[in-house]
């Protein structure tokens, strides 16, 4: 298969608008343009108001400069991805060699943009200075970004077991099916060739971003399916029974009575699933969800269901109580 980097010199409208416009892309650009942020015309409110004239002059100069610089832009800027540099995540194959940016090596440093392919071997990967990841055989993982404030891997396929000791949201694992944000913990993620998979949380908790941007929280002692197409997947307690598992499958399949099915099947051990259901259920169902949650794990005093319905911060107190019960 041809790699995009190899063809950087070809005209590519999607990449830099060079060459003839792709009619469909151009149509989407026009369609979506009303949503665009026009930064120069929408100044930061923190700034003091100034005379309009110097602003307009500055914009004209900036636009001219931008045009000249764009014209002089190099068309062939394929990255020099290396596996022996100083910046990136250090890795070591447990046996044999692994593939890094196409080269077979026993160890090295995974640079931003490079992909590590473990092939038939396992490997260990340092997550900057905040943790480690064990990679199973036949795993492909790419380093998307690393800085003091944020590190992100893209797990395309395979098995990754991460142990991270850092403040929440410093480390994340993107996958084809869901985005896993570390809140300080240990967990394993498995992704199959279709892009779907599963996460098991061993300590701490993670956030899972699902379809439509909804975020659910999977604490220690739970697992969640990562569904192709980013459909909602709620965490299940590792001790969950077959009834709630079947009900959750029905909910994920958009069964009309899926919410009611989950509520009826839930036992105390399933309170974490019900608590997360409150985040994704239709507004009309939220009261029923929280009433059922109150039966499984009563809200901490003096929180009431009405308060939790009205105030997300109050609900968080209750959610924390549910997480404590899992331990």
């Amino acid at each position: 298969m041809t790699r995009p980097d190899d063809e950087a010199d070809r005209a590519d409208y999607l990449w830099d608008r060079s060459g003839p416009p792709d009619p469909e892309i151009a149509r989407l650009e026009t369609l979506l343009s009303p949503l665009r942020h026009d930064a120069p015309q929408d100044e930061l409110k923190l700034r003091r108001r100034r005379s309009r004239t110097p602003f307009v002059i500055a914009m004209v100069v900036a636009a001219s400069l931008a045009l000249v610089m764009w014209w002089r832009w190099p068309r062939t800027d394929a990255p020099a991805v290396a596996c022996n540099g100083d910046t990136g995540f250090a890795f070591t194959a447990r046996t044999g060699t692994v593939g890094c940016a196409g080269a077979a090596v026993a160890s090295g440093v995974l640079a931003v943009g490079a992909t590590l392919d473990t092939g038939g071997h396992e490997a260990e990967l340092a997550i900057a200075n905040i943790g480690r990841a064990e990679l199973g055989a036949n795993t492909r993982v790419r380093l998307d970004r690393t800085s003091a404030e944020h590190h992100q891997l893209f797990l395309e396929v395979g098995h990754l077991h991460a142990r991270v000791s850092a403040p929440p949201r410093i480390f994340a694992v993107a996958t084809p099916s869901a985005h896993v944000t570390d809140l300080g913990c240990e967990y394993s993620v498995d992704i199959d060739p279709s892009g779907a998979g599963e996460i098991h949380v061993i300590t701490g908790k993670v956030e899972l971003e699902t379809a439509g941007g909804t975020v659910v929280v999977a604490p220690a002692g739970t697992h969640a399916r990562l569904l192709a197409g980013r459909h909602a997947s709620l965490p299940l307690a590792d001790r969950a029974g077959p009834e709630i598992t079947a009900a959750l499958r029905a909910l994920e399949a958009d069964a009309p009575d899926g919410v009611a099915w989950v509520l009826a099947a839930a036992r105390e051990v399933d309170a974490i699933t019900v608590a997360n259901l409150a985040a994704v259920a239709p507004a009309a169902s939220k009261r029923a969800v929280l009433d059922r949650l109150a039966e499984l794990v009563p809200p901490p005093q003096p929180v009431t269901v009405d308060q939790a319905l009205a105030d997300r911060a109050v609900f968080e107190l209750w959610f924390d109580e549910v997480v404590r019960r899992i331990r």
């Binding site: 950087a8 610089m69 993107a174 985040a279």
Partner: protein, 178 residues
């Protein structure tokens, strides 16, 4: 543009960190489109403008704590990502287009359909495509402002576009297979 702006960026960040409001305004000029796109990937359109302002307000407050000046783009976008996630946590964003931006009902419906399809893509593709198709940034600009390598951005654009076409029922082109 990229070389010069990147060369100048550390000085602008340091000046902003030291309290130079004009320098901070310059950071806003350079990065507000990217922040807008990152937030729009998760949040209903009607809430995006306010959140962009919030993100820059948070950044202004936290800038003195930024030790690695070169990490500013990723740091700023991480704030945007986290703020957007906090905002939508527990609430599914509405894709409804404000009336003043929708010239016809069918157009509003189509915009909502495309935005929903974009938001259903894996995050790496979703953010990159929104920056390209909505914010009008080129691939090199996206790489510069997100800290991703140009190769990663290019891959994300093409693979994301392939998935988006499939999602919207659009016939794939030869470009998608690059």
């Amino acid at each position: 543009m990229r070389t010069r702006e990147l060369d100048e960026l550390p000085a602008v960040v340091v000046a902003a960190r030291d309290g130079d409001r004009a320098a901070f305004g310059e950071l806003y000029r350079r990065f507000s489109r990217a922040v807008h796109g990152i937030v729009l990937a998760r949040v209903a359109y009607g809430d995006v403008a306010d959140l962009v302002q919030e993100v820059f307000t948070i950044a202004l407050q936290r800038l003195p704590q930024l030790t690695e000046i070169a990490a500013f783009p990723g740091w700023l976008l991480a704030i945007a990502r986290n703020r957007a996630i906090d905002h939508v946590r527990g609430a599914k964003p509405s894709d409804a287009l404000p009336a003043e931006l929708a010239t016809t009902a069918s157009r509003a419906a189509e915009v909502s359909q495309v935005i929903a399809a974009l938001r259903a893509l894996p995050e790496a593709y979703q953010e990159t495509l929104i920056l390209r198709l909505v914010e009008g940034m080129t691939g090199p600009e996206i790489a510069e402002q997100t800290g991703l390598s140009p190769g990663s951005v290019r891959v994300n654009l093409h693979r994301g576009m392939k998935l988006l076409r499939a999602s919207l029922g659009i016939t794939p082109t030869e470009e998608d297979s690059r």
